[in-house]
Symmetry: C3
Subunit: 283 residues, 3 copies
């Protein structure tokens, strides 16, 4: 293999913000261990200690990286408690972080080849701060994985990683019920109703997370409507440009999930929608 293909990528997802040097400290330690690693920030602006949001953000992005990428996640309200530090290997990347459910949505759609507890002191820093495992346990583990250390050298197998309940997606004849899963920077409202795939003029509904096994449904998008925040929105669109600026619409977003949006505005603000609010799709 050429050198280029050997360059490992490590992504970073945290709730550390960008004003302190916590992220910098982790990067220094990783580059000291894996000097050739490519470090890619996913985000450091997860809402403080929000494990569900972390699981969602990671779910939207890991699939776009090469399969030998190591995804480092440090959103860790239980740091210093008995919660385990873990690493997991899948066919679509390796994952390092606290065992608190942050990998739930990935694990729901990827077969997990191995999960281990990061117990081997050889791959930790000599002194462990009980308030910053990101620096002293997770960053070294991610860097060692990137250099090619086999995952089983990091510690013993874990058979029961913590998993969050998957987002709600209930399919009945002519009705799909879900929840608001995420509100993005533009105010687009992402729901748990997905993955939606166009086939000719029909919309096919596949399970949002492959292993949920939800039944497949299909419907004509222009005859469907979405009920949210006490309002009915007609049709499911392909793009913002199908309505006028300022218009509210439902569409299939870039993650394949049903979204509620406003063209050149914030759908979340316009409709007063928040994470967890119910959304119904009818046809």
């Amino acid at each position: 293999m050429s050198r280029m293909n050997d360059t490992p990528i490590i992504t970073l997802t945290t709730d550390f913000g960008l004003a302190d040097a916590y992220v910098g400290a982790m990067k220094g330690i990783m580059l000291d261990i894996a000097s050739d690693a490519r470090l890619v920030d996913v985000t450091h602006q997860i809402a403080s200690q929000d494990v569900q949001e972390t699981a969602y953000v990671l779910y939207t992005v890991y699939r776009f990286f090469p399969s030998d990428t190591v995804h480092l996640v440090v959103v860790d309200p239980g740091v210093g408690s008995a919660r385990r530090p873990i690493a997991a290997r899948t066919p679509c990347g390796s994952f390092v972080g606290p065992d608190n459910g942050v990998f739930s949505y990935v694990m729901a759609e990827q077969p997990v080849g191995a999960v281990v507890e990061l117990a081997n002191p050889r791959y930790r820093r000599a002194q462990i701060s009980q308030t910053f495992h990101g620096r002293d346990i997770f960053a070294p583990a991610a860097a060692h994985l990137a250099t090619g250390i086999p995952i089983h050298q990091l510690g013993p197998s874990v058979s029961d990683p913590v998993t969050l309940p998957l987002p709600r997606l209930r399919v009945s004849p002519g009705i799909v019920n879900g929840d608001v899963l995420h509100i993005d920077h533009f105010g687009n409202v992402v729901t748990s109703i997905g993955r939606l795939v166009w086939e000719a003029e029909m919309l096919m509904l596949e399970p949002a997370f492959r292993r949920t096994g939800a039944p497949q449904a299909s419907f004509r998008a222009d005859e469907a409507s979405v009920i949210a925040a006490g309002r009915e929105i007609q049709g499911v669109h392909r793009t913002y440009a199908e309505v006028e600026p300022g218009g509210t619409l439902a569409l299939v977003g870039s993650t394949g999930h049903l979204e509620i949006a406003m063209r050149e505005g914030s759908g979340a603000t316009a409709l007063g929608l928040q994470v967890g609010d119910p959304v119904e799709l009818r046809w």
Copy 2:
């Protein structure tokens, strides 16, 4: 050539913010195609869908990168509409993004060797989301350009790229009229009056954008004054330190444009200035 010089740079300028994984998804895709690319964030905090601000920010930065750099720009209110996705080649970098004017200020000062529409499906992702061309069209195109794919392989030539009106700069004897172009993080007010260049104690005014062909003017900086927000500011300075802390001043900023600033404070807040407000320079 040595390997070092072969490492292509791709810069990123978007309005995606840093809280979602949209930027991360584009980076994953680019590193999958061009594993050796150097990714440099310019900013992801362009005001949502603000094409003029994007054109300005790009104009201030592209000149400092090596000439083989690819500048990826995704500020794209018309995503999913008929607006074309394009790439442009200049002697000072290549540019990839929507055909909505974001490259206007660069094209006004650089000869454009080629502009093409990103129509070749070979250099796009197989499935195109109509809400995220950044991920499915622009990022792959930028990465392929960085690996050395000739620009004309990306699609057919475009002869009429969209251009924004250039910022106002009207030169009369003893008076130059312009507008507020940008307000930076510190509250410095950047105007369209530039480029100003010191020659001995004289200030020479060159056109802000080379191809506007505005006439050259020269004046003694200490005898000039700036009128903005109904206020007259005496003299054009070289640096903040020439006034007391808290003092308001006009000076030649780091982009070569006339700026209005407050030493150790915000000129924009002090004077209540906003983008688009008129500014007059007299001498």
Copy 3:
């Protein structure tokens, strides 16, 4: 040495924010000079022109990088004045920035091998903006250092770099007095009382900055108390998980300093503490 180990790292710490292209301009210039450099952002969100905060943030992070790292710091209220641009070499990294005290806390714990003024025009840009030395003086110097240019080629020696007063740390029998040094993204209140090191069940107090020569003290952490904002907090803990969610506690933070925190909340908000407020540790 292998090529991997030759890759120099340059870190960046500024108050430029992320919305403008100032950071991008510095990166373009550095990669033009040192195309193989690894650029790592520490933060660009230092409070505008806050030299003390800069000194603190740099102090918390430089130690985690390889010893050949170049740390570029641009928080520069005196840009364009007579303040000198400098570079300093220590066994734990090189440092480039304005001579205004930003390196004080590093220099207080590292022997300084050389300090030079960045006066050699060969290692500056040809035109120097008097408002952006970061781009025209500091970034080129950092990049040239990263390529292996000896520090003494950058300019003449400086024997009297500016130093900030070190944070207060007064040790009396049974009492240590200090100040709030920093409040982080989570609202954790970092004090100047450090470095605290656990030895068995005893806490050893070492000088926060090695060369201050403050006396060493030791005490039982569970018999100690912390007085801040008119409130007494019992005990010094090892981790947040030792109190209930919402509980206020004192603990040894990841920098080794005494911190005041709230589990799953903001200690700074709960107690109304600000940088500079006095904190007392008793036992």
